[in-house]
Symmetry: C2
Subunit: 146 residues, 2 copies
DNA sequence: TATTGTTATACTCTATAACTATA
DNA sequence: TATAGTTATAGAGTATAACAATA
């Protein structure tokens, strides 16, 4: 059971959190479920799967990248047939990005591969550790969005 | 209180964890405590502060980067006077990397700046969320090292 | 005049391959 | 022959600045 009080010496926790996130992110880069897609590109597909569709600008804000970077990402995903582009119904400057059925199938395949990684992982962590990560995941998401 | 049972459908948790870690790592890149040092470079200093000293090869393994990348990082840190290089006592191929007093002072300054970021952060998370992250930090570290 | 998205360009970080020195 | 570290080079991913089209 972790100490729930907020002490003035949370510095060590922040340090550990930052270090852990940065190192794990480097490992995740290599643990790709699809070799041809970068983590951000996978993340965009995940966002589209949750939100249905979004404009490039919205995606850039959600992924915390600059608009030109999202232009490049969307173009690559489109060239692979993973997203489709439609004109925006109300604003002709904007576009609507939508995932294709191919993307859905790929995400399903990714889920299967991630389960293999998970099984390997869960075997080495104990129950409490894994429960902690399950609980932390949404908080990390929240933090990333703040 | 999180659900402690390990269900077969941990897939969603893994997804959220991966997404959260990747997005947060991108934000952390920009939230640098020292503008002139990259996250990995800061992480190396943190490792040296904990371990006292290490060889370039050990640092590369700990940070999950390839040896040539660590060569570059160590060279940069040395040029800034943040680490010193000594000959290895037993093996003339190896070197010993050690943090300087300047690095210690910089880490202390970093800790102060991180506290400001933490105060801003803690104000927006509730008690349980922050406690969850405190508990998760060491598990993320463990995961990164597995 | 402000905003959305794109094009052109450059930078940061990391990796791979080939090399040197030592074990 | 194997290992630690370095040098040289290339690639991935992102950013900034300047631009086009639309609001």
């Amino acid at each position: 059971m972790p100490d729930l009080s907020r002490t003035p010496d949370d510095t060590a926790a922040v340090n550990a959190l930052r270090s852990g996130v940065m190192r794990l992110s480097r490992r995740l880069k290599h643990q790709r479920v699809d070799e041809s897609l970068s983590p951000t590109e996978m993340s965009v597909l995940g966002t589209l799967a949750r939100c249905g569709s979004a404009t490039p600008g919205e995606l850039a804000r959600k992924e915390h990248v600059q608009p030109p970077s999202m232009t490049r990402i969307v173009a690559l995903l489109e060239s692979k047939g993973l997203v489709g582009l439609e004109p925006h119904p109300e604003d002709r400057r904007q576009k609507v990005v939508r995932q294709t059925e191919l993307a859905e199938a790929m995400l399903e395949e990714s889920r299967r591969k991630r389960n293999a990684w998970l099984a390997e992982l869960a075997g080495r962590l104990d129950e409490d550790e894994w429960a902690t990560l399950r609980a932390a995941a949404p908080v990390l998401e929240k933090l990333a969005h703040m």
